[in-house]
């Protein structure tokens, strides 16, 4: 790496939101997160040097295609990746706990982590049917979460569960306490999952593709609900999705992930309106938009090739084999550093300036 590049990294890293001691309004500061899984072939790194911070009350979206490492990132933060030696975690994830202390989620002893998980940070998953217990009433499942983390009686917990079910917009909340998951629709189940996740008033909610299995009309309801709850409770949301439309709808800031690295991040308007990383640009253009068609069946723009295999990542920028702007000897040499495009807009591309000039 050249002298100028490394010094510019130092200059920029102070501006990249994740720093050693998180600012007061930051609830979670992730820095240099690396995740690797062990297989017969040795360790395969699937998350590379991921740094970001989640501010109080904000919705931060993590967007990427399958295999980009977005779900693994969230599982690592919840410490739900397989225990060593089957996987290894490196870096830090500083979390501001309710008692005001800052703890590193990646090194916290498991016993303490159990007090944080589901309590101060909670998670909702894509498939609400498989994440709920089919043989227990939804009321009891929510109450269980409350009783686990709080010192309270079953009756109080059930009452609290009723209040939560009402909070997530389910009519006839009291009656629904006794319902089993199969008696509820997909949207209702996802509301139950959200109620359960909010049971202990977490400061961060990780939502992993929470609307992907739902119909668009129900998706709109769930997005509206999450916005409302965020405004009411001040919970920060780390929203993981592959859907750029959903990002545009709900996020304050966004990170775009490709092959285990964040390639572009920042406030949602600059990143989605004026992306500079070729991958983000192409991804946005390949989304069919709901608009009155201009021509008879115009071809959609595509990204040629496929997402690389994490065991055989291309040298340098992992996107360069698919990139129209890649330069031999540059893009295939070193992994690009994060560079600042404008305040709160960062990119990992060596040629973004040249590309921006060429397009202007």
């Amino acid at each position: 790496m050249s002298q100028t590049a490394s010094s510019s990294l130092r200059a920029v890293s102070s501006k990249v939101p994740a720093t050693a001691t998180p600012a007061d309004n930051v609830v979670l500061a992730v820095s240099g997160l690396r995740v690797a899984f062990r297989s017969e072939a040795g360790f395969t790194q699937v998350v590379h040097d991921v740094s970001f911070s989640v501010k109080r009350g904000e919705v931060l979206a993590l967007v990427g295609e399958s295999g980009s490492g977005k779900s693994v990132t969230s599982l690592a933060l919840m410490r739900l990746t397989p225990p060593p030696p089957r996987s290894s975690l490196a870096g830090s994830a500083l979390f501001r706990c309710r008692d005001g202390k800052v703890r590193d989620l990646l090194t916290l002893p498991e016993a303490e982590m159990q007090g944080v998980r589901g309590n101060e940070i909670s998670m909702i998953f894509q498939e609400p049917m498989t994440s709920l217990n089919p043989v227990q009433t939804v009321g009891m499942q929510i109450a269980e979460a409350i009783m686990y983390h709080r010192d309270c009686k079953r009756r109080e917990a059930l009452e609290e569960a009723g209040r939560l079910i009402e909070l997530v917009g389910i009519p006839e909340a009291r009656r629904r306490l006794c319902a089993y998951p199969h008696q509820l629709s997909g949207g209702m189940r996802q509301r139950i999952m959200i109620a359960m996740a909010l049971a202990c008033d977490p400061s961060v909610l990780i939502a992993d593709e929470p609307t992907t299995a739902l119909d668009v009309t129900v998706q709109a309801q769930i997005l509206e609900l999450l916005q409302e709850l965020r405004a009411r409770t001040g919970t920060s949301i780390l929203f993981i999705t592959h859907n750029l439309g959903v990002v545009a709808e709900i996020a304050d800031r966004v990170m775009v992930m490709y092959a285990g690295r964040i390639v572009e991040q920042g406030a949602v308007i600059p990143v989605l309106k004026h992306p500079v990383m070729p991958y983000t640009k192409r991804l946005l253009r390949s989304v069919p938009r709901l608009e009155i068609p201009s021509a008879e069946h115009p071809m959609l723009e595509t990204i040629s090739g496929t997402v690389p295999d994490p065991q055989r990542l291309p040298r340098g920028c992992a996107f360069h084999p698919r990139c129209a702007h890649a330069e031999n000897g540059l893009c295939d040499a070193d992994v690009p550093d994060i560079e600042e495009v404008s305040p709160d807009h960062f990119v990992r591309c060596l040629r973004w300036r040249a590309i921006a000039e060429a397009c202007a």
Binding site: E65, S66, S185, G186, G187, M188, D215, V216, T217, V218, Q219, A220, Q221, L223, E224, H242, N243, L244, G245, V246, V247, A248, E249, A251, V268, I269, L272, K273, R282, L283, L284, S286, V287, P288, R289, L290, E291, I292, P293, H297, P298, M299, L300, E301, T302, I303, T306, V307
Partner: protein, 341 residues
């Protein structure tokens, strides 16, 4: 085309004509007493012209997949009439249908479960030839497989590999290669891109458009994604609880939807432009149970424009514009278009 006065007319250019098609399932039949009927598809009428792409949209449970399977006669409809290339196929037996099968094919949603994991890609793609053209020489068959693989953007050498060696997008290409092997005239694609990533989805959509142009086939494109359907289709039929509530050309439908459900679907689709966040028409509640649909218009329980008269009778599809039909009694409504959601 003579779509102008009725959703179907006796139309010589139509490859498929569906009239009053219903697919009911008996649920909870007891020894004594009547069974309940789940009306998965209820009195659906439409036609598909040669080389036309008809998009079929609706939420899960709207009956769009059942309709797709019924028109291919993979299931036996409860009532109604299906005419394929001028032949009434409604009551045909399996044996009678067999010679027609090569001309009507299906593409499945899930490329992971619709390919036999123990067959090579070459065997999978050659299967239709083995079944329908028994006399064909091995050599000729291999040539045809190679041609089909090239046509879908794969290469000849992939024929010897197994499905698990391919990505989701590549598997979907294999499924498409198999379905075009017999040069069908009608292709029903049931959520062909829903399981794929956006960048791959765009590749497959383009491939389908290209194949449709090259082979001049008709396509019934089933999807819950209005943006994709709008991109692919010539006309769109919107389904709600087993019925078509609106059917029109894409431009006409997007510029001026005439059914409140269509408007709600438009409004629910999130756009990738973050500066366009807007007040949506968010539908309340879920799809009602198809076992006990609301009386009259099935959408009235979630419709922001419902009036008491909506409960009285099931609205029929009516002409509301050129080749544009909607099943809503409130014809005076000015609904928001797809561009101005």
């Amino acid at each position: 085309m003579s779509h102008d006065d009725k959703p179907t007319a006796r139309d010589p250019s139509a490859i498929l004509e569906v009239t009053g098609l219903s697919q009911w399932y008996a649920i909870g039949a007891r020894f004594l007493g009547p069974a309940q009927h789940l009306r998965a598809v209820d009195n659906v009428t439409f036609s598909l012209a040669r080389q036309e792409v008809l998009g079929l949209v609706g939420e899960s449970g709207s009956g769009k997949s059942t309709l797709g399977r019924a028109v291919l006669r993979l299931i036996k409809p409860t009532s109604g009439r299906i005419v394929f290339e001028g032949q009434d196929v409604t009551h045909m037996s399996r044996g009678q249908l067999r010679p027609l099968r090569p001309r009507m094919q299906l593409i499945f949603q899930d490329p992971f479960t619709s390919l036999n994991p123990r067959m090579t890609v070459g065997e999978i793609i050659a299967a239709p030839l083995v079944i329908h053209q028994k006399g064909m020489k091995r050599r000729r068959r291999d040539e045809r497989v190679a041609e089909a693989l090239t046509a879908v953007g794969l290469s000849e050498r992939h024929a010897r590999r197994f499905p698990h060696e391919f990505s989701g997008g590549q598997r979907q290409r294999i499924g498409i290669a198999r379905s075009i092997m017999m040069e069908p005239r009608l292709l029903v694609a049931d959520e062909p891109v829903s399981a794929l990533d956006v960048s791959v989805q765009a590749q497959i959509v383009n491939l389908l458009l290209e194949i449709r142009r090259k082979l001049g086939l008709s396509l019934l494109f089933i999807s819950h994604d209005l943006a994709v359907v709008g991109h692919v289709s010539d006309r769109i039929a919107v389904m709600y609880l087993g019925r078509i509530v609106e059917i029109a050309g894409v431009r006409s439908l997007f510029e001026r939807p005439r059914h409140p459900y269509t408007e709600a679907l438009f409004s629910a689709v999130p756009d990738t432009d973050p500066t366009l966040r807007r007040e949506r028409v968010v539908l309340k509640g879920d799809l009602p149970s198809p076992l006990a649909p609301p009386s009259g218009c099935a959408f009235r329980t979630r419709c922001p424009y419902a009036i008491p008269a909506c409960a009285a009778a099931v609205p029929e599809l009516r002409v509301v514009g050129p080749a544009h039909f909607a099943a809503c009694i409130r014809e005076e409504l000015e609904l928001r278009s797809a561009g101005n959601r």
